[in-house]
Symmetry: C2
Subunit: 292 residues, 2 copies
């Protein structure tokens, strides 16, 4: 299929962007608009930035409002849906129980057991059963995908490269357990494994461990390594990095950040490179031989 045909096909339907926290949903929306596509944001209450959504056609929604989503999305002429931005795992009592959702409860109960990955892929599966087409942000906005090699001017040294390899191996070992997508490794020692707290908190823990003297690896050593889980549905919850990731890594006195090329989203690549240079950190896209 040629690019022009792809563009025409994409232009057919309005894109529904289910919009969580952070700046990534807007970067994806802007990319779609640049391609001449109409977008509608379904801004998740409590997560989406209320200021920034006003710049786009949008509806506010709560997690679990399937019926409302489906009727509005149909009215708006959406067939394609993209989930983007950060969300907290919802609790039962936060979900709005509309009628259609009630019929889906047996499926949803299953989704609630286990990690984020299962929850998200299950939600996507439910939407697809209803006739929607779930896309990944990287399909809408390939320009936001992390390229191979360094962004910015710094590059990892041999010790950093060994830490990156160890981090990728650990993430691969943890992958079947549906934990987080990030670890911090410094001079071969694992300093943090991300859990439900998210990457920023895991990196903040390293800063705190340094302050309290619990770890003694000298400043400027250590790498934040991020990778999607193996076998993860690449349309959903791909790892992402932004300027706040750089700030956190700098506060934790790391040498840099390594993410898997082609499957990490970078909301604002130019700002990220500038921030990395200013902080004296490397940010590099690496390929992981154990994947794909």
């Amino acid at each position: 299929m040629s690019d022009s045909v792809t563009m025409a096909a994409k232009a057919e339907s309005t894109l529904a962007i289910v919009c969580g926290g952070g700046s990534l949903p807007f970067a994806v929306a802007d990319a779609a608009v640049r391609q001449g596509r109409r977008v509608v944001l379904f801004a998740l209450r409590g997560f989406a930035d209320p200021q920034r959504v006003t710049a786009y056609p949008h509806h506010w929604a709560r997690m679990g409002e399937f019926n409302r989503f489906m009727s509005i999305a149909t009215e708006e002429g959406c067939r394609d849906v993209v989930f983007v931005g950060s969300v907290t795992r919802p609790s039962w009592w936060q979900l709005r129980f509309d009628l259609r959702l009630l019929r889906l409860i047996p499926d949803i109960v299953r989704l609630f057991r286990g990690g984020d990955d299962r929850l998200l892929s299950g939600m996507a599966g439910l939407l697809e059963q209803q006739g929607f087409h779930v896309l990944g942000p990287q399909e809408i906005a390939p320009e936001l995908v992390m390229p191979d090699g360094p962004i910015g001017t710094r590059v990892p040294n041999d010790r950093d490269r060994a830490d990156i390899a160890r981090g990728l191996a650990l993430l691969a070992a943890n992958s079947p357990f549906d934990i987080g997508q990030a670890v911090v490794v410094a001079d071969n020692q694992v300093l943090a494994v991300e859990g439900p707290e998210g990457t920023d908190q895991a990196v903040a823990r390293v800063a705190e461990l340094r302050r309290s003297g619990r770890i003694r690896t000298p400043s400027g050593i250590g790498v934040l390594v991020k990778a999607p889980k193996i076998g993860q549905d690449h349309r959903l919850d791909l790892p992402s990095i932004g300027p706040q990731t750089i700030e956190g890594a700098a506060a934790a006195q790391l040498a840099g950040i390594a993410v898997v090329t082609g499957s990490t989203i970078v909301a604002e690549p130019e700002r990220l490179a500038a921030a990395a240079d200013k902080a004296g950190l490397f940010v590099i896209g690496v390929t992981d031989g154990t994947r794909r």
Copy 2:
């Protein structure tokens, strides 16, 4: 070898107890004394409880004072050494560089790369090279080893047992990376993986994640699972639990604690059982089929 012969052999030499933080060193010292053995504590400055060491023959020492340790231990007639209690990974500049240590520097540099396990087994190896015999606390005080089955009256239900199995599998997968010895799993979701912060901090994180709403698993669900690393030298840094572990698990609203039978140390078993019952938690010793 019969028990009486073992006892006689043990009685031959004074036991050197290299004494870190917590109450475990004193429980081991008391057990040795009950066996009629003389003990000398080498209290690590900054870690050992300064009040409690006064009840035993003791010398204060800093990490890395090999020469001092070896001359005093020899004077005191010690051949057997046990390392017990919590310590922070030392930094270069905290080590006292005595002459003998300087000669060992090439070995020590290697120890400093990698995790705690390697550091400890390397330190033990250096002592053994110098003619000492390094024992595990469980060899001195078998009565402090976690037995099979529950301590206290509560027992895990089926969901808890599934969480325990998942926790043990995750710890086994992480074992080659020399990370921590504990994870928290709740209804199949991994809530925390212990890093250098230690078990108490990892469990405190779960409490914090609950408070902040970042995790939504209902109160009373979740298990703290502890296991030694596979292939770990069982003389060194075995997992241990005490009343503060119960307090932490209760604050994190877990259902209970599971540790590997035979390779976890319990400083005060009766206090622990009473604390568990009071907190409404189970504490159970489990066998892990993937080990041994």
